[in-house]
Amino acid sequence: MADDLKELKIELSKNGIFTTTLEELYNWGRKNSVWPLTFGLACCAIEMIATTMARYDLARFGAEVFRPSPRQADLIIVSGTVTKKMAPQVVRLYNQMPEPKYVIAMGACAISGGPFRDGYNVLKGIDRYIPVDVHIPGCPPRPEALIHAFMALQKKIDAQALTGESRPRHLHPDLPSEFPVPAFGEHGLEPPANPDVFPARADNPLKVLQ
């Protein structure tokens, strides 16, 4: 919004007149009613459950309604180790969610495989197959960290412009809302990563630096 419009808005509110834009109203509604999917994979899921309970109370952020069906969910919290055998099911659940949809990768395993990174059976990060909005490090992350990630996601939703080239994926008719489900191959998952989501190794910005 242009600066003079913002000033006008502040000026009007001082005189008791409330103004808003459709974009602000729409994003305000969306960010305060993010419904996560009832979905957990490992010990991080226990922390996620704790976050929803009385002490941490995720309901304060409008996210208390964990939906048992991906058709009704806006957010998938990948909480725990994704094994190679589980990865196709996680991608399929994500594909079944309606747009707009968001992903939080919770904990070291969901980000990169974590302590099981050298294992033959563990996927080295769910961002190989689906686009992740917020990554939370930790093993497992504390409920405060999940709440922080959730607030980061709310800020991201709030800042999304509804028009223009930078508008989010669900407002681009050409961009996909479903991603290829990996298949079980002879030596591992085929393909090992989705190149549209996970950059190729040569120009991978996620190289570990020491």
Binding site: R117, Y120, F184, H187, P192, R201, Q210
Partner: protein, 203 residues
């Protein structure tokens, strides 16, 4: 629970009970001193049935089955050999020459069973069986017909080590998917290239 008999006596008891069986005692030097018995695979099933049915032993519970991978080993030794060497002027002299000899010992896959008796409240007896090699002849007799509880654990050893248990009622992969071809717990398993972590060290 405590060991029933000293390992040597157990070996003698099994060899007396199962004609033709050959049992080797493997000493465990650690404080636990849980010595194990290496049984030849041909008599593995008969030895298992003997241990379960013998009135004194009654090993009615197989608590654990696992696999071990022993790689092919190559030993080098220096040997002094006498050789006739032709000199530049045509004369032949005998000289002592050192030669390096390499001997290859084929590896094997091993299945380990831990047996207890619920009835007699004693144990464990540790059985080992070894395959002939790590590739084509990785076969062992299944002990699932003797102890039903070994079924899933033998499937796991088949899945991860590639030990084929002959006589198993349902030998399929249990953890990895059916189309998977590798045996990931073998020591020479190579993970897919995309799984390997790239670490760049800043100069």
């Amino acid at each position: 629970m405590m060991a029933i008999l000293p390992a040597e006596e157990m070996k003698a008891k099994i060899e007396a009970g199962v004609p033709g069986a050959s049992v080797t005692v493997h000493q465990n030097g650690s404080p636990s001193a849980q010595h194990s018995l290496l049984v030849d695979p041909e008599h593995g099933r008969a030895v298992a049935e003997f241990l379960r049915n013998d009135a004194e032993l009654k090993m009615d519970f197989c608590s654990n089955v696992t696999g071990v991978d022993w790689l092919d080993t190559e030993t080098t030794e220096k040997v002094k050999v006498k050789k006739t060497v032709g000199g530049p002027d045509g004369t032949e002299t005998e000289q002592e020459v050192e030669e390096v000899r390499k001997t290859k010992t084929p590896g094997y896959l091993e299945a380990v069973y831990h047996l207890f008796s619920m009835e007699k409240k004693h144990g464990p007896i540790i059985l080992r069986m070894r395959t002939a090699n790590r590739s084509a002849q990785a076969h062992l007799p299944s002990l699932t017909p003797v102890w039903r509880g070994a079924e899933f654990q033998e499937r796991e050893a088949f899945d991860l080590y590639g030990i084929v248990f002959d006589g198993h009622p349902d030998l399929r992969r249990i953890l990895m998917w059916d189309g998977f071809v590798d045996y990931p717990m073998r020591k020479d398993y190579v993970p897919p290239a995309d799984d390997v972590v790239v670490v760049e060290v800043n100069p």
